[in-house]
Amino acid sequence: MFKNILFNRPFEIKRIPGFQSLALFTFACLYGPILILIVYSFNSSSSLGVFESFSFRWYVAAWENEKVQEAALRSIYLATIAATIATTAATMAALATTRTKKFRGITFIYVVINQPLMIPEIVTAVALLVFFAMIKIATGYQGMMYLIIAHTAFCIPFAYLPIRARLESMDLTLEMAGADLYATPWKTFTRITLPMIWPGIIAGFMLAFVISLDDVVISEFVKSAGQETLPTYMLGQLRRFITPETNAIATANIVVSVILVTGFFLLTQRKK
């Protein structure tokens, strides 16, 4: 079967010499570095260069490292809250901007929602640094709210897109039927609309979650002292000294992303 995937040439006209080998080479290049990283995370040696034997030593070390624990928990906490708020706000905005004829200001809403995607991340990061510095001086508050609101803001467009896609492909007649049968607007929403767009909402939440979990630039500039997230902790490690422990953390990170993306993939596939 695998042979079939690789060497299936249904129409000779579609073949361009060299493209297949170049494509397979590209796939190898995409996965090679990641696989090497994963293999070396199971290295028992404390040297990065030589692979001695298979062991979970560095996973245990990472697991027992309090700084890693703390940063990982903070990352998950942050991603959960930011993705939840972002998905709620994005669902509301998606409901407001789909299935309607153009009204004044709809373009403005689109532009604002997609704005975080269009501005280079580093610019948003320094802008937030400056703005939050003002608030910190004025109020003295140093807590997690800065990270939460910053993450929520750049997660909104990622949550918005799949929900909007789902809404646009939805059948309007079902809601009308609900209304015809004397359902209140709220009942129509909770009984018909919400269950139908639910896969889109979950997909949006997962994307937002991954995006928040992976963010390093904005977190690096917004975090107050002692608020390391896993990516900023790793960035700090990369600057100083790399141990195989970093490989283990990176591998765990890859596994989480793969699980979430697979879930996202399955959810959006079923729709079609």
Partner: protein
């Protein structure tokens, strides 16, 4: 009688129109209210703070950090010019200009490299059977959603002096000394190509998938060679996807921060790192603000250019 009737019908028509208009404006008001939380959050924590950056770019830097509220255009001069310490003459700020040049150069190289590897890959995926197509697409998306930092770290591991590539080269006997790849422009370009490749593949794939292969068949029937067919039929039809991919690769490259910081070390700075430096060790916030806006202007110029290319394409097609 007839006149009163006329007035009546006029009246009710107006009333009906009024009711519709009221319902419409009520609907629009509801839509604005629903969008409000998203708009407020983004305005507070993404769009709004940019206004402060604009203001800061016209203020004097404070002694240690922050700003002094005195209006000046000095920061904008300092983006490209420098005052000579001895005779106060304005000279080009070579340090900044070389960083701008490196950013643009590396972003262009990365865009071209992702196209060279991305087009065949996208073409390969698009010509698979629909079922296996999804699997290949999935394989492209996985690295895309994997942490950028982790992927950059993987490249760092690969090209270190004691990394896999150098060990392999030494083992084969091509070189005795490890080739220094880390902390060079090559490393940054290589890393960005690796990291941003999926952003090229996906839009190109989308346009190849829509490609009508009967056109290709027609070209072959008319004795076109494979190369002619690729150049004259496939490339023009895939151009919109290629342009979209170029935007998606070029623009994040221009503002890249993580990849050049890790793979370029402290020396091969790019635009993003120069900005970060002003808010870190440099402690010159207003200059950093002016540099940030310069980056945004460059991004806008690139976007406008790409949009123009696309719209002139569309005109040609009509």
């Amino acid at each position: 009688m007839t006149t009163t009737f006329k007035i009546d019908s006029d009246d009710s028509a107006k009333k009906a129109a009024n009711v519709v208009r009221k319902a419409q404006s009520k609907d629009i008001r509801k839509r604005w209210l629903l969008s409000l939380p998203a708009l407020a959050i983004i305005f507070f924590a993404a769009a709004g703070p940019l206004l402060i950056v604009v203001i800061y770019s016209f203020l004097e830097p404070g002694d240690y950090t922050g700003v002094i509220w005195i209006f000046t255009t000095e920061n904008w001069f300092n983006v490209v010019m420098e005052r000579d310490i001895f005779d106060d003459n304005l000279v080009w700020a070579d340090a900044h200009l070389s960083i701008f040049w490196r950013s643009i150069k590396l972003s262009l190289v990365t865009t071209v490299m992702t196209a060279i590897f991305g087009i065949p890959t996208a073409y390969f995926i698009a010509t698979r059977s629909p079922k296996s197509r999804n699997i290949w697409l999935f394989l492209i998306t996985i690295p895309f959603w994997t942490n950028l930092l982790v992927r950059t770290f993987a490249i760092q591991e690969l090209i270190r002096n004691k990394g896999v590539i150098n060990k392999f080269l030494q083992w084969v006997g091509l070189t005795n000394e490890p080739i220094e790849m880390l902390f060079t422009d090559f490393a940054v370009g290589f890393g960005m190509t690796y990291v941003y490749l999926p952003l090229m593949v996906l839009p190109v794939y989308a346009s190849i998938e829509k490609l009508d292969f009967r056109l290709v068949e027609g070209a072959y029937d008319l004795y076109a060679s494979r190369w002619q067919c690729f150049k004259k039929i496939i490339v023009p039809l895939v151009r919109p996807g290629l342009i979209a991919g170029s935007i998606l690769v070029f623009i994040p490259c221009l503002g890249a921060y993580v990849t050049p910081r890790i793979l370029g070390g402290g020396h091969q700075l790019m635009f993003g790192n120069l900005i970060a430096l002003q808010f870190g060790q440099g402690k010159n916030w207003p200059l950093g603000a002016a540099l940030s806006l310069t980056l945004m202007i460059l991004v806008m110029i690139a976007l406008i250019y790409f949009v123009k290319v696309t719209s002139s394409d569309e005109k040609k097609n009509v």
